[in-house]
Amino acid sequence: TQLLEQSPQFLSIQEGENLTVYCNSSSVFSSLQWYRQEPGEGPVLLVTVVTGGEVKKLKRLTFQFGDARKDSSLHITAAQPGDTGLYLCAGAIFRGSTLGRLYFGRGTQLTVWP
């Protein structure tokens, strides 16, 4: 069972376009993180959001945590070829024996063409 559903699974766009990736769940998360992974490498953390309704900006990337802490979105403005990669959302639920693990979505493969 996939706790976090990411959409779209694949995204292919031209340089300069805007895009949004969604991460949804029926579960409430204590925190949610976004990672970016390039071929042959491990995921690299982009941002952590903790508070419901929180918005964080990282240059052209805007991350939002839903008010109910069940969903999140990643918006990229004016995409560049260097943004190409696999974007993964991951949520943490702090309760009982599941302390410490992250639940990952399946990822969104973004390709930005010059």
Binding site: G40, E41, G42, P43, A92, L99, G100, R101, L102
Partner: protein
């Protein structure tokens, strides 16, 4: 400082053989995680260590899989009698604090690509 390192980077083995994968976490990181990633898929949780103990090993797919951590540092993931479906990239991550802190960051190694022929 040094990041998370994993060895070997690639491993090709015959079906039925045992393999050991190694992870060296960032120095001082108390929590260590193992994940598995199949081609084009997200990350599948395997096991989590806090210090040398594993409070959550619920993701290990079968009793052929085991892991240990010694000295609160290096961890080894062992797969016995490997099967073709074990082929995947095995990723290790560490974090400074695991548990009741509401936000924490996991730092990943480059992974070990395991191919079972």
């Amino acid at each position: 400082g040094a990041g998370v390192s994993q060895s070997p980077s690639n491993k090709v083995t015959e079906k039925g053989k045992d393999v050991e994968l190694r992870c060296d976490p960032i120095s001082g990181h108390t929590a260590l995680y193992w994940y598995r990633q199949s081609l084009g898929q997200g990350l599948e949780f395997l096991i989590y260590f806090q210090g040398n103990s594993a409070p959550d090993k619920s993701g290990l797919p079968s009793d052929r899989f085991s892991a240990e951590r010694t000295g609160g540092s290096v961890s080894t993931l062992t797969i016995q009698r490997t099967q073709q479906e074990d082929s995947a990239v095995y990723l290790c991550a560490s974090s400074l604090v695991g548990g009741i802190v509401p936000s924490y960051e996991q730092y990943f190694g480059p992974g070990t690509r395991l191919t079972v022929t």
